[in-house]
Amino acid sequence: MQIRKEQMDAFEQAANRDYEMRLVRFLQSQFPDAAREREASLVDGVRPQIANARRYGLLTEQQIATYVTSAWLLGSDFDGEFPAAREMLISGAPADEKSDWLARFTKALFEQLEQRS
């Protein structure tokens, strides 16, 4: 079977758009405040976060979704606001290690928040 370049490009675009939409719906399903947002504005918010995640070397859908979820919970600039997060993201650690660390970090942060509230 042969797939032409234009078909590959079109598939990639479609796959990217599909992934963006699945992430948006995922956020809406998880967070009530996301459900109240317009879908188009969520897409606009999610797209640069996906690009950020890729810049940090995150590869798989799961790793990127972890990053976007952290961004939703911590703020869109969390990779600059939290020095520890940034250091881990720009480190040479394997992508799955970065992703796992980020999830643990965010959960730990909220646990701390709850203990202190």
């Binding site: 998880q30 405040d33 859908e61 979704a65 911590l74 250091e87 942060l109 701390q112 709850e114």
Partner: protein
Amino acid sequence: MFGDAFYAALDGATNAAKSAMALIVTGGKKLVAGAEAVGAEVVQDVKIAVNAVVKAEQWAEKKTIEAAKWAEKQTVRAEKWAEKKTIQAAKWAEKEAVAVAVASAEAAVVAFDAVKTVFSEVVAGAASVPCTVENALIYDLATALAILGRPAHGLFPKKPANLPHDGEIVGAGCKAKDPNSTGVLPQCPNGKPRISGTITYVNGINTQYPTGKADPFDQDGICKSMQLLANATCAQVIGVYNATGGMARDLEQCLTNIAKNSDSGAVDTLSRSMFAAVSQDPPQDMTVYAHSQGGLITQEALADVKNQLVASGSSPADAEARMQHLSIKSFGTAEEGWPAGPNYEQFTNLADPVPGAISGAQLGYPSQTFSDNANIPNADRHYFLSPHYNPIGPHSIDNVYIKQIIAEKGQPCCCD
């Protein structure tokens, strides 16, 4: 939400941050204790504390010297960061802190666990496409549909046509329905069924019609789904059978449904039934349940109905008014591309790969998909999460979507 008190606390946090960073120089557990002891009132403080705790575990505990160097750098950084935070405090309070405030540790745990469930380890990017293509055509109909959703694919030149039973109306006993027979009724072993309305059901891809079997309702296929639907809704269920020509041909037919130019018998049957209902005076109500490709068939049939109404003399507005008597409930199928007029309700399993794949395929047919695209309120779009080990398991009408109907609407009593 945060006024002067916030700014005061922020200043405190800034000083506390400096203190925490100074403590890092000493390394080890002392850092952890120091970081946790810093001003405990505001979000920024907690961030520093958690950063420090995590960093301490990673660096300071193991390598005090490295931690000290890192701490020097972090101290400078923390000062800059604190200054920046002061400037950005208002923005933070209004926007970012709101996100923090509405979330919780439990929400974070649930969200990250759900990430693992919902998102596969598929590599996101072009580098994975060739492998994805090969695997998809063998294993994953959903992705295959997205790949094939290019107008120029040409992989399956033959359209499915003249398939046995295609477009047949299925009723009681899993047999072709005649005017005197009923649809499939709710099962009531010890009583009489209490019927509440009529549903027309259109099945999806690769679905069997097990006629002649000893008990067709026990076989996977349209009749089993109809029975489960009848039991879940108390309605009599009439099937419109979308015959299968095998996976590959069915996929190709999906594209012709999206292009709204198929020669599908199911489209003809459904559009005739719907036109018969809404062209009466007054128009009659009709409810259609559609799963997977059945949704695409229903979209094409609805476009046909609208065209027929206009061709019969209705204005477009009148045609849409008549079509408001149609209630369409769709499951695991297209979320866009539904002609304006009918009332829609959608059920989408977030773990189901098919709706996303259909959405990708529809991009190849923008005018057919978006030129007449109903605005469906979010309240009528039901999203839920039901993952399964089998990649296509989350798409099942029998095991996922009908169960979700019961979960959301409740199980009515269908028997006297």
